[in-house]
Structure formats: structure tokens, C-alpha cells
Amino acid sequence: MVTGQAANKDGGVACGDVLRRYAEAILGPDADVVKARSECIAALGEDSTVQAASIVASFDGINRVADATGISLDPETSAGGGEQIIRELGYEELGAARS
């Protein structure tokens, strides 16, 4: 459940901070993915950690499909929880800093 409590950088999501660190470790070339995965296993168990890995991997792939084809965003998607989570995690600044 998204609660709007962003103080712990978890987006108000259960174990959000752990999941975010695992996602960043997977995507960051120099990050310690084993440490982040261990933390995730401790918090959520192996099955959920494997599921988290699958979701990050699948979105890493589909991001390239969306960007390279210039597909437009669905109204249904932009009205969903994704943008709120990005705001709550402070990722807007990350994107701006890279661009």
C-alpha cells in the first residue's frame, strides 16, 4: 500500500527500501548485488527475491523497447501508482541529474 510516507525512502511500500536497494544493485554495474540480494532474502525470503529479480530484469528489457520505438505512455499507466512512487523516492532528481 502506498502511504505517502517517504521518510525512509521506501515509497510507503512494505520493505520498499530493501527492494529499491536490490533494484539499484542489479542495475548499477559496480554495485554489490550479492549484499543487496542477501538483505532482500532476509527481509522477504528467497521466492520473493527471485520474483523481484524477474521484475527488475523484465522492466530493464521493456524500457529499451519503449524508448527505442517511441511508444507513447498509456493514460491508464500514467494515472497509476508508478509516478507517485517515483516522486516519493526522489527519483525525479536522479533522472534530471543524468539528463
Binding site: 500500500m1 502506498v2 515509497g11 510507503g12 511500500v13 512494505a14 520493505c15 527492494l19 529499491r20 533494484a23 539499484e24 542489479i26 542495475l27 548499477g28 554495474p29 548485488v33 550479492v34 540480494r37 532474502i41 532476509a42 522477504l44 528467497e46 521466492d47 520473493s48 527475491t49 527471485v50 520474483q51 523481484a52 529479480a53 524477474s54 521484475i55 527488475v56 530484469a57 523484465s58 522492466f59 530493464d60 528489457g61 521493456i62 524500457n63 529499451r64 523497447v65 519503449a66 524508448d67 527505442a68 520505438t69 517511441g70 511508444i71 507513447s72 505512455l73 498509456d74 491508464e76 497509476g80 501508482g81 508508478g82 512512487i85 523516492l89 536522479l94 533522472g95 543524468r98 539528463s99
Partner: protein, 244 residues
């Protein structure tokens, strides 16, 4: 129970689709033959360690870095290597101008669509391997044969830079994909249309993608809840500077 530092195995239901998708990499596609498709996959991997791509990603604009060469791992033409490396390593800054310049250079939209599908599959597989500390999959061998080069009728260029097939006009493989997406998500999200100019590209990418990802409808019992899935997806898109 494994110790936390040991590699984890991917879920069986996700492996099957990825295995099938991976097997298609070396077969002739719609617009590239098997050898070329393997070369495209090889370039995706080479791009990750490419000094030029790394320098461009750090630069304020990728156009400002042009004094180096790509780390080339194939016999593909220079424009194709450039295109693969950009999509693989800096997708968030691709623009309509970038697309138009690629088309002006003689590439067909369908060729770009098929390249994109291969990049998507290889990225998904290699990111999953890294996440679980598994070795990268070896690329399959190339199967002889030529691509069919058949233009899909009834495409429109409305929701994307590339032509796409509307769900109401879809037949065969595309109709099955749209029906599956609509059944799971309740609507056909736009990115499901992105590769429809090349039916094999749609099939290969979504065969790998769908089992690995679920935010719509019920998430697997005992697994992550929907908000956790959304957080992971949003975090990944933000990391990639992707609007989607």
C-alpha cells in the same frame, strides 16, 4: 535453504519462456538472418563495456563525445552497431530526431523493431543472471536461412515512431498476444503494440517478458504485493531514465 550469498535459480515458470525466446535468437527473423541476429546480441553485451558508450552516458549530451570508437564485437555495419549500442546503454535519451536520422540512413522501421526485440531479450536475460549471480547464457548458434521480409499490412504510425498494428486489426500471433495482454491487464497497454510491425519480434520479447513480470491482476500467492512490484518497476524505469 541456500546461504544468502549463493546464486539463486530463476523461477521455473519464467525460465521456460526465456529458454524459448533465447532459442529463437539464432533463427532467421523477419528482417535479419540468424547470423545477424546473433551478431546483434553480441553487440548488446559488448556495449556494456564500451568506453565510448560509457563516456557518452556520463556526458551532458551523447553528441558531445565523438573522439572514440565503439567496442565492436561483430561484423555488422557501423550505423547498426551505433544504433544497438545507443539503445542498449543510453535508452533514456533516444529522441524522435535520433529515430529520423536512423531511418534517413537507410534503415527500415521493421529492422529497428527486430533489433529492439533482440536487445530487450538479451537485456532481460543478462540482468536476471546478474541479479541472481548466475552465469550469462551462451548465445546459440545461427541457423541458416533468410528473413521473410514481409511487411505487415494494416499498420499505423500513431502511438509510436514505428508502425504498429491496432488490436482490432490484429490476426494470428498478434491477436493472441493482444488477447493475452487484455485478459491480464484489462486493456492493451501501448508498449504491447511497440513491436507489432514484426510479429516474430513481439513473440520473442513477450515470451520472455510476460512470465517474468506481473503488476496487473493478482500477483502470485505468497509473493510480492502489487505496490512492491510497482516500486521495482518504477525504480528500474527511473534508473534507466525511461518515462514508461
Amino acid at each position: 535453504m541456500q546461504t544468502p550469498t549463493e546464486p539463486l535459480s530463476p523461477a521455473a515458470h519464467t525460465t521456460e519462456g526465456l529458454d524459448r525466446s533465447w532459442g529463437e535468437l539464432g533463427r532467421p527473423g523477419g528482417w535479419w538472418n540468424g547470423h545477424e541476429r546473433i551478431q546483434i546480441a553480441r553487440e548488446v553485451r559488448s556495449a556494456r563495456g564500451c568506453p565510448l558508450c560509457s563516456a557518452r552516458r556520463e556526458a551532458l549530451s551523447p553528441q558531445w563525445v565523438d573522439d572514440q570508437s565503439h567496442a565492436v564485437a561483430s561484423d555488422l555495419s557501423e550505423p547498426v552497431v551505433e544504433l544497438i549500442h545507443r539503445i542498449a546503454t543510453d535508452p533514456g535519451r533516444l529522441s524522435r530526431r535520433w529515430f529520423d536520422e536512423a531511418m534517413a540512413g537507410g534503415m527500415r522501421p521493421e529492422e529497428l523493431v527486430e533489433i529492439t526485440s533482440i536487445i530487450g531479450v538479451v537485456t532481460l536475460a543478462d540482468t536476471l543472471a546478474r541479479a541472481l549471480s548466475q552465469p550469462e547464457r551462451p548465445l546459440p548458434g545461427a541457423t541458416p536461412g533468410e528473413p521473410h521480409r514481409q511487411v505487415v499490412p494494416e499498420t499505423k504510425t500513431e502511438r509510436a515512431w514505428v508502425p504498429t498494428v491496432e488490436p482490432g486489426k490484429a490476426e494470428g500471433m498478434l491477436k493472441m498476444l493482444y488477447d493475452q495482454v487484455e485478459a491480464e491487464a484489462g486493456f492493451v497497454f501501448n508498449v504491447a503494440r511497440a513491436l507489432t510491425a514484426v510479429p516474430e519480434a513481439v513473440r520473442d520479447f513477450f515470451m520472455a517478458f510476460i512470465p517474468n513480470y506481473s503488476t496487473h491482476g493478482d500477483v502470485r500467492s505468497g509473493g510480492l504485493d502489487r505496490t512492491q512490484v510497482e516500486l521495482l518497476a518504477s525504480s528500474t524505469s527511473a534508473w534507466n531514465d525511461c518515462f514508461y
